[in-house]
Symmetry: C2
Subunit: 204 residues, 2 copies
DNA sequence: TGATTTACAAACATTCTTGTATGTATCTAA
DNA sequence: TTAGATACATACAAGAATGTTTGTAAATCA
Protein backbone atom coordinates (compact mmCIF):
# COMPACT_ATOMS: atom_id res chain seq x y z
CA UNK A 1 0.00 0.00 0.00
CA UNK A 2 1.69 3.14 -1.08
CA UNK A 3 -0.08 5.86 -2.91
CA UNK A 4 -3.68 6.45 -1.72
CA UNK A 5 -6.39 8.55 -3.26
CA UNK A 6 -7.20 11.93 -1.80
CA UNK A 7 -10.09 10.67 0.27
CA UNK A 8 -7.98 7.84 1.65
CA UNK A 9 -5.28 10.29 2.59
CA UNK A 10 -7.78 12.46 4.40
CA UNK A 11 -9.01 9.36 6.18
CA UNK A 12 -5.55 8.48 7.47
CA UNK A 13 -5.15 12.07 8.62
CA UNK A 14 -8.35 11.75 10.61
CA UNK A 15 -7.21 8.43 12.01
CA UNK A 16 -3.96 10.02 13.09
CA UNK A 17 -5.84 12.77 14.88
CA UNK A 18 -8.16 10.26 16.54
CA UNK A 19 -5.22 8.17 17.68
CA UNK A 20 -3.36 11.21 18.95
CA UNK A 21 -6.39 12.44 20.84
CA UNK A 22 -6.86 9.13 22.60
CA UNK A 23 -3.17 8.71 23.40
CA UNK A 24 -2.73 12.29 24.58
CA UNK A 25 -5.67 11.78 26.87
CA UNK A 26 -4.54 8.42 28.13
CA UNK A 27 -0.76 8.70 28.41
CA UNK A 28 -0.25 12.44 28.30
CA UNK A 29 1.14 14.55 25.52
CA UNK A 30 4.82 14.35 26.38
CA UNK A 31 4.70 10.64 26.99
CA UNK A 32 3.07 9.97 23.66
CA UNK A 33 5.58 9.30 20.94
CA UNK A 34 4.99 9.83 17.25
CA UNK A 35 5.55 6.15 16.69
CA UNK A 36 2.77 5.32 19.13
CA UNK A 37 0.42 7.60 17.24
CA UNK A 38 1.38 6.09 13.91
CA UNK A 39 0.98 2.52 15.12
CA UNK A 40 -2.37 3.27 16.72
CA UNK A 41 -3.52 4.68 13.40
CA UNK A 42 -2.21 1.67 11.51
CA UNK A 43 0.54 3.53 9.66
CA UNK A 44 4.17 4.46 10.22
CA UNK A 45 5.90 7.65 11.22
CA UNK A 46 6.31 8.42 7.55
CA UNK A 47 2.62 9.16 7.33
CA UNK A 48 2.79 11.32 10.45
CA UNK A 49 5.58 13.45 9.03
CA UNK A 50 3.77 13.71 5.75
CA UNK A 51 0.60 15.15 7.28
CA UNK A 52 2.12 17.13 10.15
CA UNK A 53 5.30 19.03 10.80
CA UNK A 54 5.80 17.72 14.32
CA UNK A 55 3.99 16.78 17.49
CA UNK A 56 3.05 20.36 18.27
CA UNK A 57 1.18 20.64 14.98
CA UNK A 58 -0.72 17.45 15.74
CA UNK A 59 -1.59 18.83 19.13
CA UNK A 60 -2.96 22.03 17.67
CA UNK A 61 -5.02 20.13 15.14
CA UNK A 62 -6.43 17.88 17.86
CA UNK A 63 -7.39 20.86 19.97
CA UNK A 64 -8.83 22.99 17.22
CA UNK A 65 -11.03 20.13 16.13
CA UNK A 66 -12.85 20.23 19.47
CA UNK A 67 -12.69 23.71 20.89
CA UNK A 68 -14.43 25.51 18.05
CA UNK A 69 -17.97 24.91 19.36
CA UNK A 70 -17.05 26.51 22.66
CA UNK A 71 -15.58 29.56 20.99
CA UNK A 72 -18.63 30.10 18.82
CA UNK A 73 -20.76 29.80 21.92
CA UNK A 74 -18.72 32.42 23.71
CA UNK A 75 -19.08 34.70 20.71
CA UNK A 76 -22.83 34.74 21.06
CA UNK A 77 -22.59 36.17 24.57
CA UNK A 78 -22.30 39.82 23.60
CA UNK A 79 -25.11 39.54 21.08
CA UNK A 80 -27.55 37.85 23.46
CA UNK A 81 -27.18 40.29 26.32
CA UNK A 82 -30.39 42.14 25.53
CA UNK A 83 -32.22 43.72 28.44
CA UNK A 84 -31.38 40.98 30.93
CA UNK A 85 -27.58 40.86 30.99
CA UNK A 86 -27.29 38.91 34.21
CA UNK A 87 -29.80 36.35 33.04
CA UNK A 88 -27.95 36.01 29.75
CA UNK A 89 -24.73 35.38 31.65
CA UNK A 90 -26.35 32.72 33.75
CA UNK A 91 -27.83 31.00 30.72
CA UNK A 92 -24.46 31.17 28.99
CA UNK A 93 -22.67 29.64 31.95
CA UNK A 94 -25.21 26.87 32.18
CA UNK A 95 -25.14 26.31 28.45
CA UNK A 96 -21.38 25.98 28.31
CA UNK A 97 -21.40 23.44 31.11
CA UNK A 98 -24.02 21.42 29.31
CA UNK A 99 -22.15 21.76 26.03
CA UNK A 100 -19.02 20.33 27.60
CA UNK A 101 -20.98 17.61 29.34
CA UNK A 102 -22.61 16.55 26.09
CA UNK A 103 -19.65 16.45 23.72
CA UNK A 104 -17.33 13.50 24.25
CA UNK A 105 -14.62 14.90 22.01
CA UNK A 106 -14.59 18.19 23.83
CA UNK A 107 -14.36 16.41 27.16
CA UNK A 108 -11.37 14.46 25.91
CA UNK A 109 -9.58 17.54 24.63
CA UNK A 110 -10.38 19.50 27.78
CA UNK A 111 -8.99 16.62 29.79
CA UNK A 112 -5.77 16.91 27.82
CA UNK A 113 -5.62 20.66 28.37
CA UNK A 114 -6.56 20.54 32.04
CA UNK A 115 -4.27 17.67 32.83
CA UNK A 116 -1.55 19.74 31.29
CA UNK A 117 1.88 18.94 30.01
CA UNK A 118 5.02 20.66 28.94
CA UNK A 119 6.46 19.96 25.57
CA UNK A 120 8.85 22.85 25.33
CA UNK A 121 8.72 25.98 23.27
CA UNK A 122 6.68 24.72 20.32
CA UNK A 123 3.61 24.39 22.49
CA UNK A 124 4.08 27.64 24.32
CA UNK A 125 2.63 29.56 21.40
CA UNK A 126 -0.63 27.67 21.42
CA UNK A 127 -0.98 27.82 25.18
CA UNK A 128 -0.35 31.54 25.09
CA UNK A 129 -3.21 31.97 22.63
CA UNK A 130 -5.33 29.88 24.97
CA UNK A 131 -4.54 32.20 27.88
CA UNK A 132 -5.24 35.20 25.70
CA UNK A 133 -8.70 34.00 24.74
CA UNK A 134 -9.39 33.29 28.39
CA UNK A 135 -8.54 36.85 29.31
CA UNK A 136 -10.75 38.08 26.49
CA UNK A 137 -13.57 35.98 27.84
CA UNK A 138 -13.24 37.46 31.31
CA UNK A 139 -13.12 40.91 29.80
CA UNK A 140 -16.35 40.34 27.91
CA UNK A 141 -18.01 39.01 31.01
CA UNK A 142 -16.95 42.11 32.85
CA UNK A 143 -18.53 44.38 30.27
CA UNK A 144 -21.78 42.44 30.48
CA UNK A 145 -21.64 42.83 34.24
CA UNK A 146 -21.26 46.56 33.83
CA UNK A 147 -24.43 46.55 31.78
CA UNK A 148 -26.12 44.47 34.47
CA UNK A 149 -25.06 46.94 37.14
CA UNK A 150 -26.41 49.82 35.06
CA UNK A 151 -29.80 48.11 35.04
CA UNK A 152 -29.75 47.57 38.76
CA UNK A 153 -29.35 43.82 38.52
CA UNK A 154 -26.41 43.90 40.90
CA UNK A 155 -25.96 45.40 44.35
CA UNK A 156 -24.54 48.88 43.96
CA UNK A 157 -21.30 48.07 45.75
CA UNK A 158 -20.51 45.13 43.46
CA UNK A 159 -17.28 45.44 41.50
CA UNK A 160 -17.73 44.02 37.98
CA UNK A 161 -14.06 43.06 37.88
CA UNK A 162 -14.29 40.99 41.04
CA UNK A 163 -17.54 39.42 39.95
CA UNK A 164 -16.00 38.49 36.60
CA UNK A 165 -13.14 36.78 38.42
CA UNK A 166 -15.67 34.85 40.45
CA UNK A 167 -17.69 33.73 37.45
CA UNK A 168 -14.77 32.49 35.39
CA UNK A 169 -13.29 30.72 38.40
CA UNK A 170 -16.59 29.02 39.16
CA UNK A 171 -17.38 27.86 35.64
CA UNK A 172 -13.78 26.93 34.93
CA UNK A 173 -13.53 25.08 38.20
CA UNK A 174 -16.69 23.14 37.51
CA UNK A 175 -15.46 22.18 34.08
CA UNK A 176 -12.05 21.15 35.35
CA UNK A 177 -13.33 19.14 38.29
CA UNK A 178 -15.86 17.31 36.18
CA UNK A 179 -13.53 16.64 33.27
CA UNK A 180 -10.70 15.33 35.41
CA UNK A 181 -12.63 13.42 37.98
CA UNK A 182 -16.35 13.86 37.69
CA UNK A 183 -18.51 10.82 38.11
CA UNK A 184 -21.63 12.95 38.42
CA UNK A 185 -24.06 14.21 35.79
CA UNK A 186 -22.85 17.70 35.05
CA UNK A 187 -25.53 18.49 32.50
CA UNK A 188 -28.16 17.66 35.08
CA UNK A 189 -26.56 19.70 37.85
CA UNK A 190 -25.64 22.73 35.75
CA UNK A 191 -28.90 24.65 36.18
CA UNK A 192 -28.83 24.30 39.96
CA UNK A 193 -25.16 25.23 40.21
CA UNK A 194 -25.43 28.33 38.10
CA UNK A 195 -28.69 29.31 39.76
CA UNK A 196 -27.18 29.24 43.23
CA UNK A 197 -24.14 31.16 42.13
CA UNK A 198 -25.96 33.95 40.35
CA UNK A 199 -28.42 34.23 43.18
CA UNK A 200 -25.46 35.07 45.37
CA UNK A 201 -24.21 37.63 42.90
CA UNK A 202 -27.57 39.37 42.68
CA UNK A 203 -28.41 39.37 46.37
CA UNK A 204 -27.71 42.64 48.12
CA UNK B 1 35.44 20.02 46.81
CA UNK B 2 34.49 16.53 47.59
CA UNK B 3 33.36 15.43 50.98
CA UNK B 4 31.16 17.98 52.83
CA UNK B 5 29.99 17.99 56.38
CA UNK B 6 26.46 16.93 57.21
CA UNK B 7 25.15 20.46 57.34
CA UNK B 8 26.74 21.24 54.01
CA UNK B 9 25.16 18.17 52.49
CA UNK B 10 21.79 19.22 53.79
CA UNK B 11 22.39 22.64 52.31
CA UNK B 12 23.07 21.25 48.84
CA UNK B 13 19.94 19.17 49.17
CA UNK B 14 17.97 22.30 49.90
CA UNK B 15 19.65 24.10 47.01
CA UNK B 16 18.71 21.26 44.71
CA UNK B 17 15.09 21.51 45.81
CA UNK B 18 15.10 25.28 45.39
CA UNK B 19 16.58 24.98 41.92
CA UNK B 20 14.12 22.26 40.95
CA UNK B 21 11.18 24.29 42.21
CA UNK B 22 12.20 27.32 40.18
CA UNK B 23 12.95 25.32 37.04
CA UNK B 24 9.79 23.22 37.29
CA UNK B 25 7.82 26.43 37.59
CA UNK B 26 9.61 28.19 34.77
CA UNK B 27 10.27 25.50 32.18
CA UNK B 28 7.88 22.78 33.24
CA UNK B 29 8.63 19.49 34.89
CA UNK B 30 9.20 17.37 31.81
CA UNK B 31 11.34 20.02 30.14
CA UNK B 32 13.59 20.31 33.15
CA UNK B 33 16.53 17.96 32.99
CA UNK B 34 18.45 16.69 35.96
CA UNK B 35 21.54 18.37 34.61
CA UNK B 36 19.76 21.73 34.60
CA UNK B 37 18.80 21.25 38.23
CA UNK B 38 22.33 20.28 39.16
CA UNK B 39 23.90 23.23 37.36
CA UNK B 40 21.41 25.67 38.85
CA UNK B 41 22.34 24.36 42.28
CA UNK B 42 26.04 24.61 41.52
CA UNK B 43 26.70 20.87 41.56
CA UNK B 44 26.67 17.98 39.11
CA UNK B 45 24.24 15.17 38.46
CA UNK B 46 26.27 13.08 40.84
CA UNK B 47 24.88 15.11 43.72
CA UNK B 48 21.38 14.79 42.36
CA UNK B 49 21.56 11.02 42.20
CA UNK B 50 23.12 10.93 45.62
CA UNK B 51 20.23 12.77 47.26
CA UNK B 52 17.34 11.54 45.12
CA UNK B 53 16.45 8.40 43.26
CA UNK B 54 15.15 10.16 40.18
CA UNK B 55 13.20 13.17 38.99
CA UNK B 56 9.95 11.89 40.43
CA UNK B 57 11.44 11.80 43.90
CA UNK B 58 12.65 15.38 43.52
CA UNK B 59 9.18 16.36 42.42
CA UNK B 60 7.58 14.78 45.45
CA UNK B 61 10.03 16.46 47.77
CA UNK B 62 9.40 19.83 46.14
CA UNK B 63 5.65 19.41 46.49
CA UNK B 64 5.65 18.07 50.01
CA UNK B 65 7.76 20.98 51.15
CA UNK B 66 4.96 23.39 50.24
CA UNK B 67 1.64 21.63 50.49
CA UNK B 68 1.84 20.67 54.15
CA UNK B 69 0.44 23.99 55.45
CA UNK B 70 -2.63 23.55 53.28
CA UNK B 71 -3.22 20.02 54.50
CA UNK B 72 -2.98 21.01 58.13
CA UNK B 73 -5.42 23.80 57.45
CA UNK B 74 -7.88 21.40 55.86
CA UNK B 75 -7.56 19.13 58.86
CA UNK B 76 -8.86 21.84 61.16
CA UNK B 77 -12.12 22.05 59.24
CA UNK B 78 -13.93 19.23 60.98
CA UNK B 79 -12.84 20.42 64.40
CA UNK B 80 -13.93 24.02 63.88
CA UNK B 81 -17.42 23.28 62.65
CA UNK B 82 -19.07 24.09 65.97
CA UNK B 83 -22.60 25.38 65.88
CA UNK B 84 -22.13 27.42 62.69
CA UNK B 85 -21.04 24.90 60.09
CA UNK B 86 -21.77 27.09 57.09
CA UNK B 87 -19.91 30.00 58.61
CA UNK B 88 -16.96 27.74 59.38
CA UNK B 89 -16.91 26.58 55.78
CA UNK B 90 -16.91 30.14 54.52
CA UNK B 91 -14.10 31.13 56.86
CA UNK B 92 -12.15 28.06 55.80
CA UNK B 93 -12.55 28.86 52.12
CA UNK B 94 -11.51 32.44 52.67
CA UNK B 95 -8.59 31.39 54.85
CA UNK B 96 -7.24 28.94 52.30
CA UNK B 97 -7.35 31.55 49.57
CA UNK B 98 -5.47 33.98 51.77
CA UNK B 99 -3.02 31.29 52.78
CA UNK B 100 -2.21 30.57 49.14
CA UNK B 101 -2.02 34.25 48.33
CA UNK B 102 0.43 34.87 51.13
CA UNK B 103 2.89 32.03 50.67
CA UNK B 104 5.22 32.44 47.71
CA UNK B 105 6.49 28.88 47.85
CA UNK B 106 2.99 27.48 47.85
CA UNK B 107 2.07 29.64 44.90
CA UNK B 108 5.07 28.32 42.99
CA UNK B 109 4.27 24.71 43.75
CA UNK B 110 0.61 25.18 42.94
CA UNK B 111 1.63 26.75 39.67
CA UNK B 112 3.62 23.62 38.90
CA UNK B 113 0.70 21.39 39.80
CA UNK B 114 -1.93 23.43 37.99
CA UNK B 115 0.18 23.93 34.90
CA UNK B 116 0.49 20.20 34.82
CA UNK B 117 2.84 17.87 33.03
CA UNK B 118 3.23 14.22 32.22
CA UNK B 119 6.34 12.46 33.26
CA UNK B 120 5.13 8.92 32.83
CA UNK B 121 4.29 6.29 35.37
CA UNK B 122 6.58 7.40 38.20
CA UNK B 123 4.51 10.52 38.74
CA UNK B 124 1.16 8.82 38.43
CA UNK B 125 1.40 7.56 41.98
CA UNK B 126 1.83 11.00 43.48
CA UNK B 127 -0.89 12.52 41.33
CA UNK B 128 -3.23 9.73 42.32
CA UNK B 129 -2.66 10.55 45.98
CA UNK B 130 -3.34 14.18 45.13
CA UNK B 131 -6.67 13.23 43.57
CA UNK B 132 -7.47 11.07 46.53
CA UNK B 133 -6.95 13.84 49.04
CA UNK B 134 -9.07 16.11 46.88
CA UNK B 135 -11.92 13.63 47.02
CA UNK B 136 -11.51 13.36 50.76
CA UNK B 137 -11.72 17.11 51.02
CA UNK B 138 -14.95 17.22 49.07
CA UNK B 139 -16.29 14.43 51.23
CA UNK B 140 -15.54 16.34 54.41
CA UNK B 141 -17.14 19.45 53.02
CA UNK B 142 -20.22 17.43 52.23
CA UNK B 143 -20.50 16.18 55.79
CA UNK B 144 -20.19 19.71 57.12
CA UNK B 145 -22.94 20.74 54.72
CA UNK B 146 -25.14 17.99 56.07
CA UNK B 147 -24.64 19.46 59.53
CA UNK B 148 -25.47 22.89 58.16
CA UNK B 149 -28.66 21.59 56.61
CA UNK B 150 -29.63 19.97 59.90
CA UNK B 151 -29.38 23.37 61.57
CA UNK B 152 -31.48 25.01 58.91
CA UNK B 153 -28.62 27.01 57.44
CA UNK B 154 -29.42 25.76 53.95
CA UNK B 155 -32.66 25.77 51.94
CA UNK B 156 -34.43 22.45 52.50
CA UNK B 157 -34.14 21.37 48.87
CA UNK B 158 -30.37 21.84 48.78
CA UNK B 159 -28.38 18.70 48.02
CA UNK B 160 -25.18 18.62 50.11
CA UNK B 161 -23.43 16.67 47.39
CA UNK B 162 -24.18 19.24 44.73
CA UNK B 163 -23.25 22.10 47.03
CA UNK B 164 -19.95 20.40 47.84
CA UNK B 165 -19.20 20.14 44.14
CA UNK B 166 -19.91 23.84 43.80
CA UNK B 167 -17.69 24.85 46.70
CA UNK B 168 -14.65 22.85 45.64
CA UNK B 169 -15.02 24.03 42.07
CA UNK B 170 -15.27 27.64 43.16
CA UNK B 171 -12.34 27.65 45.55
CA UNK B 172 -10.22 25.49 43.28
CA UNK B 173 -11.06 27.64 40.30
CA UNK B 174 -10.13 30.79 42.15
CA UNK B 175 -6.84 29.30 43.23
CA UNK B 176 -6.04 28.06 39.76
CA UNK B 177 -6.96 31.26 37.95
CA UNK B 178 -4.99 33.39 40.35
CA UNK B 179 -1.95 31.15 40.45
CA UNK B 180 -1.69 30.79 36.69
CA UNK B 181 -2.61 34.24 35.60
CA UNK B 182 -3.75 36.44 38.44
CA UNK B 183 -2.50 39.97 38.51
CA UNK B 184 -5.02 40.93 41.18
CA UNK B 185 -4.82 40.86 44.97
CA UNK B 186 -6.42 37.57 45.91
CA UNK B 187 -5.99 38.02 49.65
CA UNK B 188 -7.87 41.27 49.43
CA UNK B 189 -10.68 39.88 47.29
CA UNK B 190 -11.12 36.60 49.13
CA UNK B 191 -13.64 37.82 51.73
CA UNK B 192 -15.90 39.35 49.08
CA UNK B 193 -15.69 36.32 46.80
CA UNK B 194 -16.51 33.80 49.49
CA UNK B 195 -19.20 36.05 50.96
CA UNK B 196 -21.04 36.29 47.65
CA UNK B 197 -20.80 32.60 47.04
CA UNK B 198 -22.04 31.48 50.42
CA UNK B 199 -24.81 34.02 50.31
CA UNK B 200 -26.03 32.26 47.21
CA UNK B 201 -25.81 28.89 48.91
CA UNK B 202 -27.79 30.04 51.91
CA UNK B 203 -30.50 31.95 50.08
CA UNK B 204 -33.71 30.04 49.60
C1' DT C 1 45.66 7.75 63.77
C1' DG C 2 44.02 4.68 60.68
C1' DA C 3 39.93 2.62 58.52
C1' DT C 4 35.80 3.39 56.71
C1' DT C 5 32.13 5.82 55.09
C1' DT C 6 30.30 9.97 53.02
C1' DA C 7 29.21 13.27 49.46
C1' DC C 8 29.89 14.13 45.66
C1' DA C 9 32.51 14.56 40.39
C1' DA C 10 33.45 12.51 36.11
C1' DA C 11 33.19 9.22 32.63
C1' DC C 12 30.57 5.63 30.37
C1' DA C 13 27.02 2.80 28.26
C1' DT C 14 22.39 2.60 26.86
C1' DT C 15 18.04 3.76 25.47
C1' DC C 16 14.70 6.56 23.33
C1' DT C 17 13.05 9.82 20.24
C1' DT C 18 13.29 12.92 16.72
C1' DG C 19 14.26 14.47 12.15
C1' DT C 20 15.64 13.55 7.63
C1' DA C 21 16.78 11.21 3.56
C1' DT C 22 15.68 7.94 0.37
C1' DG C 23 12.86 4.52 -2.01
C1' DT C 24 8.65 3.40 -4.46
C1' DA C 25 4.26 2.20 -6.11
C1' DT C 26 0.32 4.39 -7.40
C1' DC C 27 -2.65 8.25 -8.61
C1' DT C 28 -3.45 12.18 -11.62
C1' DA C 29 -3.10 15.37 -15.17
C1' DA C 30 -1.76 16.74 -19.74
C1' DT D 1 0.27 7.25 -22.16
C1' DT D 2 3.70 9.11 -19.83
C1' DA D 3 5.78 12.42 -16.78
C1' DG D 4 5.48 14.16 -12.54
C1' DA D 5 3.44 14.59 -8.11
C1' DT D 6 1.55 12.18 -4.18
C1' DA D 7 1.24 9.35 -0.01
C1' DC D 8 3.34 6.96 2.32
C1' DA D 9 7.28 2.99 4.17
C1' DT D 10 11.87 2.19 5.42
C1' DA D 11 16.39 3.11 6.77
C1' DC D 12 19.67 6.12 8.78
C1' DA D 13 22.02 9.65 11.52
C1' DA D 14 22.27 12.28 15.60
C1' DG D 15 21.46 14.16 19.96
C1' DA D 16 19.72 14.14 24.45
C1' DA D 17 18.64 12.38 28.78
C1' DT D 18 18.89 8.76 31.90
C1' DG D 19 20.97 5.44 34.95
C1' DT D 20 25.23 3.37 36.41
C1' DT D 21 29.85 2.83 37.47
C1' DT D 22 34.03 4.31 39.06
C1' DG D 23 37.16 7.53 41.29
C1' DT D 24 38.37 10.38 45.30
C1' DA D 25 39.25 13.58 48.95
C1' DA D 26 37.66 14.81 53.13
C1' DA D 27 34.83 13.85 57.27
C1' DT D 28 33.70 10.77 60.86
C1' DC D 29 34.41 7.10 63.88
C1' DA D 30 36.92 3.63 66.48
Amino acid sequence: MVRRTKEQAEATRTQLLDAAEALFCDKGVASTTLDMIARAAGVTRGAVYWHFKNKAEIFEAVCDRATSPMETMLDTLAAESGDDPLGALERQACGILQLVAGDARMRAVLEILFRGFDGGAEFAEYLAREEESKRNCRCEIESVLVAAAARGQLPPDTSPAKAAVAITAFVGGLMRDWVLDGDYDLADMAPYLTRVFFKGLASA
